[in-house]
Every structure is written in structure tokens, then in C-alpha cells.
Amino acid sequence: MNVTRRTFLKMTGLSVVAVASGLGINLSVAEARAYTLKLEGCTKIPSICHFCSGGCGLLLHIKDGKLVHLEGDPDNPINEGALCPKAASLEQVAYSEVRPKTPLYRAPGAEDWQEISWDEAIERIAKKAVEVRDKTWKSTDEITTKTGEKKIVPANRAEGIAVIGSAEIDNEESYMLSKFSRLIGTPFHEHQARI
């Protein structure tokens, strides 16, 4: 219902504005029609689509920190403003009611989430990572060289930690994650480029 109301308000915004002429209020003569754009007063910020690998440009129209409208960026040479339905729908993510409000924690055997703070979430993860790292650390491997001799070599692996990275996060994040996993000792780092 809220949305319909909004629609209605929007539609009235589209209606004719009769402008009185300087001399009188002869509407039939002075029926100059003005259409106000909902983008008036917005800042335009370009971004990039989050779906296929086209890299189409998005243009976000922001007013007072709020997203007013999102459409294709006409200045991006890849899509020249055109967007597929997925990209064209992206403004619905900005204020989606189903986006979680806080980090969520599910205890072993629990039937539901509990909301936790960011600090608690980070702490739990870091502690567990340290614990698993200690528990499953493999400092050496035994290998057989080409000449057939057995050799003990450094492994330096946290065998119990695996990381599935993402092709849906930024380069910087992807790189950080890549660096993160190798620094904490796990080469077991894969992502959906495989599939």
C-alpha cells in the first residue's frame, strides 16, 4: 500500500502544471506544461553492475544520501546506458527489507539464528580461526624427490581451514582475501571461477 501511495504521489507530480500568464489567469491560453523530473537536485554517481562480467555502467541518483533512482550510465562505453533486467532492478537491493540487520550466529544444534554484534562476530571468527589453525597445522611434508629419496620439507599449512572466495566482490577485496588465506596458512583457496 505504501508503494501505491508513493506511485500516486509520483503520478501527480507528473501532472500538468498550469502556469498563469503574466496578465491574467487565462488557463486555456497559458497552458504551458512543465514536467518536473524526480532526479532534480540529485547527485549522479557512476557504479558497475554486479551481475555478469559485462561490466555495464550504472548511474545512481542520490539525494540527501538516499538513492532516488538507478539506471544505466549513458557515458559508460560498454553499455551506453542500456541495462538488462537484472541490472535495471538493482535499486531494489538498496533498501530491501530482507537484508539482514546485524551479523547472525547459529550455535551448534540451534534451530534459529541469534543476532550478534560485529565485534562479537569478528572475535568469534578470529578465535576459531586461530584455534583451528593451531589444531590442524602441518609444518612439514614428506616428499619423494625425482631421484627417489624421501625428504622432509616445509609445508606451513593450516590444513583445516578452507576459503571459498568470490567473483562477486571487488578486486581489492578479492586480493585481500587471497592474501589473508595464504598469510594465515591455507593454500586451500578456491572460488566459483571453477564452476
Partner: protein, 264 residues
């Protein structure tokens, strides 16, 4: 703004439905709950919250498959039935050729709904207002492309001066006709010529479209005869009564002076 036209090249439409989404995003229209109907189509018709959608049509003949798309929205006719039917004078045409419902004036009576040859406008039962594609008049008047045209990736939608659009359409028609002999332009002859001009690969009936939509006879009878002329019968009847009121009394008084009242 001078006359504008949108050329809908259905031969290039991939049925991605971005136009429908972009339209909703621009006009802040809510999504509707749907199910698949046929093929990959889930939107059955225009509604007060869906101003444009794609219908899909499959055809398999002589080992050749065709999957045709059609974009539905208001055609913005040169002689719009809806405007003719509107009792509240809520529908008007712009210089650019668009037919617009002024929501301040719309009373949601649904006369336009009933009289559009394509059944495009739809009344919101809660708001008691009728809605349809505005041609993105607000965008167009401010130098932006209509939302559907701007978003169309395969380039099936073109926007510009009518002459230019017709030229593109003719070139495309000649090209498409090579493989689809029934290909034709649609809209140029309908309702005084529509602002949305189509290139179809098959005849209109294949898409479930009226072959040659005109203003319906009922609307002509109503708006061209009954309303302007028929209505005079009422003043005539009133007038006759007034005349009678006078004449009866004159004649009565005359006959009274001659000899008594026969009535009364």
C-alpha cells in the same frame, strides 16, 4: 517539443524484459505476484502497476523454430480513443505526440479502459485512478530517453523524430522481409498513426493484436452522435413542454372566453 516516435523493432527484441523492469524502476511501480503463463512469459497484460511487458510467441513450422517477442505498452495514438472516451477531460495529448492521463483529473471511471482497442489503461481499484504508460514524458521533456528505450540492450527500441524512425523502420522491414515474408509495420495506420511504431515478423493476429484497430463504432456513436446531438432531445422536450405550457393556457383562455372549460 516537436513530434517524437518510438520504433519497436520486435525482430531484435530478445525478450529480456528489461524494459518492463526499467519502467517500474523509473515510475516507482511495485512488483506483482505472478506465475509463468506460457514460454518464459509471466506478465499477462498491462495492469495499473505494469505499464509495459513482453509477450512471447512460439511457432514451429517446417522444421524452423521461431520465438517472437512483442512489447506491449500504450501506443500513444494520434487519435486516442481513451482521450475521446474520457468524461473527465483527464487525458490530453502533448505536442510530442504522447497521450497522458492527468492524475489530478482522472476519476478512475474506466471509460478509457473499455475503449482502448488494445486494452492498455488499467484502473487501480484502491486509488480509483487509471494508469498507463506515460511515454516517460517527464524524461523526454527533460532531454532523457524513455526508460524502456534507454535500457534496451539489443537495440530493439529507438527514439527520435518520426521521419527518422520511419526511415529506420523501412530499412529494417526490407531486411527482415527477406526471411519473414509476412513482416510488416504496425501502428502507422492504426488510430490515426501511433507514436509507437512496430516492426512485426508475422501478421498482427499471430501476436493476438487487432489487425487494423480503429476507433470503435460504439465510441463514434456515443461521442460523435449521441453526446453532441442526441442530448439536444432533452432541451427539445423541455422546450416543447414550455411551449405547450404557454399555448395550452392561451388556447384555454381563448376557449374559456368562447365558452367554458372542457377539462379540469
Amino acid at each position: 517539443m516537436t513530434k517524437r516516435m518510438v520504433f519497436v523493432d520486435t525482430s531484435l527484441c530478445t525478450g529480456c524484459k528489461a524494459c518492463s523492469v526499467a519502467c517500474k524502476a523509473w515510475n516507482d511501480l511495485p512488483a506483482e505476484k505472478n506465475q509463468l503463463i506460457t514460454s518464459y512469459q509471466a506478465q499477462a497484460s498491462t495492469t495499473h502497476n505494469t505499464w509495459t511487458y513482453i509477450s512471447m510467441h512460439e511457432k514451429y513450422e517446417n522444421g524452423k523454430m521461431e520465438w517472437l517477442m512483442f512489447k506491449h505498452q500504450c501506443y500513444h495514438c494520434a487519435e486516442p480513443s481513451c482521450m475521446k472516451a474520457c468524461p473527465a477531460e483527464a487525458i490530453y495529448q502533448t505536442d510530442s505526440g504522447y497521450t497522458i492521463i492527468d492524475q489530478n483529473k482522472c476519476i478512475g471511471c474506466g471509460y478509457c479502459v473499455a475503449n482502448c482497442p488494445w486494452g492498455v489503461p488499467k484502473t487501480d481499484p484502491e486509488l480509483k485512478k487509471t494508469f498507463k504508460c506515460t511515454g516517460c514524458i517527464d524524461r523526454v521533456e527533460n532531454g532523457l530517453l524513455p526508460a524502456c528505450v534507454a535500457t534496451c540492450q539489443p537495440g530493439a527500441l529507438h527514439f527520435g523524430e518520426p521521419e527518422e524512425m520511419k526511415q529506420i523502420a523501412e530499412v529494417r522491414l526490407a531486411e527482415v522481409k527477406k526471411d519473414f515474408p509476412k513482416a510488416q509495420l504496425y501502428g502507422d495506420k492504426a488510430m490515426g498513426g501511433t507514436t509507437y511504431l512496430y516492426l512485426l515478423k508475422e501478421e498482427p493476429a499471430f501476436y493476438g493484436l487487432p489487425e487494423n484497430p480503429t476507433t470503435s463504432a460504439s465510441l463514434v456513436v456515443w461521442k460523435d452522435w449521441v453526446q453532441p446531438y442526441g442530448i439536444w432531445l432533452i432541451p427539445i422536450a423541455l422546450g416543447a413542454s414550455a411551449v405547450s405550457f404557454v399555448t395550452t393556457r392561451i388556447i384555454n383562455s381563448m376557449s374559456k372566453s368562447k365558452g367554458g372549460d372542457i377539462h379540469g
